[in-house]
């Protein structure tokens, strides 16, 4: 791959991720509206798509205020961490067998590392705000993310066993031979999906910012574009998790030959994003202790049994 294509790909990914996140703000509200039997935002521009632009202008134009009681250094650093970590996570996503920014032999671990670094944003934001609701939100997110990270990593080890590599390109190529891993690794897929929602702390697992009990959780004190960065990070996380599920379990760019491979990648990712929004529309928020005990008492045993059975099948069959 020539340098020019690589640079185009890097800037395309950057621009595409930002634009995707901005459009998702509108798209999610529109879809939620349809599923909840109302119209949703439909006034600005065709189908209301101008709302994405209006939201961006609003966020940039709002007063950017640092509370005098906050820890200034950490308060400003916190929102940048989530966006940086999520954007770095995009570097290992393979769009097609040829079109990818970096095909590392540790790509899967790199992705897990970047999602685990994104936790700091929420944690430090909650700590630096010096506000009891923000602190509680940060505490919850720390416990939630550290717990769900364990199953998130373990659920992928079945995929690694079947494909024999941490490289995402190799994993998709293995799916060309052995069928999509969503069939052979169904429990791994379910656990990864649930852990993915918990990691990007989206509804129904948005306990760190549960507005019915914690005002707005960790971002209570944030305003303007700093708040916008948290939102941007959340939507980038949603896109990243969807594209990772596509790559790991739904065969990435594989698909019938009448359309180019890159179409299939984006089509599957799009369907998964819609599915995540449907989950938000359809499922109520669990209580916090229910979330934690569900994780440790259901998800962890399920993951371990899945790992054991996969290992046994690989070894003896």
């Amino acid at each position: 791959m020539s340098d020019l294509v690589l640079y185009l790909l890097v800037f395309g990914t950057l621009g595409g991720a930002f634009a995707g996140a901005a459009i998702l703000v509108w798209f999610e509200r529109r879809l939620l509206g349809i599923w909840q039997d109302r119209l949703g935002p439909n006034r600005v521009g065709p189908l209301g798509i101008g709302l994405a632009l209006a939201d961006i202008i609003k966020l940039f134009a709002k007063e950017d205020w640092v509370p005098p009681f906050a820890d200034r250094f950490v308060f400003i650093f916190a929102p940048t961490a989530i966006v940086m970590a999520m954007l770095l996570g995009f570097t290992v996503v393979p769009y097609t067998s040829e079109l990818h920014i970096a095909d590392l032999n540790i790509a899967l671990l790199f992705f897990l590392g970047m999602t685990s670094l994104a936790v700091y944003s929420v944690l430090l934001g909650g700590l630096a705000s010096n506000n009891k609701y923000a602190l509680l939100g940060g505490l919850r997110s720390a416990a939630q993310m550290v717990s769900y990270e364990v199953f998130m990593g373990l659920s992928l080890m079945g995929v690694v066993m079947l494909s024999g590599s941490f490289s995402l390109v190799d994993i998709v190529n293995a799916q060309a031979e052995r069928g999509w891993f969503v069939i052979s690794q169904f429990f791994g897929f379910v656990v990864f999906l649930i852990a993915g929602i918990a990691e990007s702390h989206r509804l129904p697992f948005d306990l760190p910012e549960a507005e019915h009990e914690l005002v707005a959780g960790f971002h209570t004190e944030y305003s303007g574009m700093k708040f916008g960065m948290f939102m941007l990070g959340e939507y980038l996380g949603l896109i990243l998790i969807s594209s990772m599920i596509t790559t790991l379990f739904f065969g990435g760019w594989l698909g019938p030959g009448f359309l180019p491979p890159i179409f299939w990648f984006f089509f599957k990712t799009f369907i998964l994003i819609c599915f995540f929004i449907l989950l938000r529309a359809g499922i109520p928020r669990p209580r916090y202790d229910q979330l934690m005990s569900f994780g440790w008492k259901v998800m962890l045993p399920l993951t371990l049994i899945n790992l054991l059975v996969t290992g046994a099948v690989e070894l003896w069959l």
Binding site: D71, I106, L123, V146
Partner: protein
């Protein structure tokens, strides 16, 4: 050449942030510098040809253990009182003996580096090689580590269990009294 440049930049960042992590009075600031130091050492690992160790450094140390450190700081939530205490503890005279030891180590490193070979000429170690080594010659070390973790797990379970039964007993008595 690029690798040597990357190595020295990462090493400098690592050194500076480690020193800052030690000297900060505010625990949250110290932790941020410590995390940066760990990330810098991950880049050093990557540059010297150990990508697997580099990612584990990010995943385990920066991504999990440091999160627990921040968690504890949040639970305690000392605020500015902690800073004052730390300020009180960290007198300049505290630095004399550690600095002396560090100076001796520095001299040793300079001697080693001036006689040793070029460290950056190493080969790349893939995850597969690490796995084969871990579950081949070093399998006993892995087993001992897993036993240690199991002991920790059982200990934590035991502590949590006793606490729960203490809480539940009075309410059970109340029910029978009623």
């Amino acid at each position: 050449m690029l690798e040597i440049g990357l190595f020295y930049v990462a090493a400098t960042i690592s050194l500076i942030s480690t020193v800052l992590a030690v000297t900060r009075y505010n625990a949250a600031h110290a932790l941020i510098y410590l995390i940066i130091s760990l990330l810098a050492s991950a880049i050093i690992f990557y540059v010297v040809g150990a990508p697997f160790a580099a990612v584990l450094e990010v995943l385990i140390y920066a991504g999990a253990i440091m999160v627990l450190f921040v968690f504890v700081i949040m639970m305690l939530n000392l605020g500015s009182a902690g800073d004052d205490l730390e300020h009180h503890w960290l007198q300049p005279s505290m630095w004399i003996v550690p600095s002396l030891f560090c100076f001796v180590l520095l001299i040793e490193i300079i001697i080693v580096l001036s006689t040793g070979d070029n460290m950056l000429a190493g080969t790349v170690v893939t995850p597969k090689q690490v796995g084969i080594k871990l579950f081949g010659p070093y399998v006993i070390a892995v087993e001992i580590a897993s036993m240690l973790l199991l002991a920790g797990l059982i200990g934590a379970y035991h502590l949590g269990r006793r606490y729960l039964s203490d809480v539940r007993e009075p309410s059970a008595e109340n029910e029978t009294n009623d």
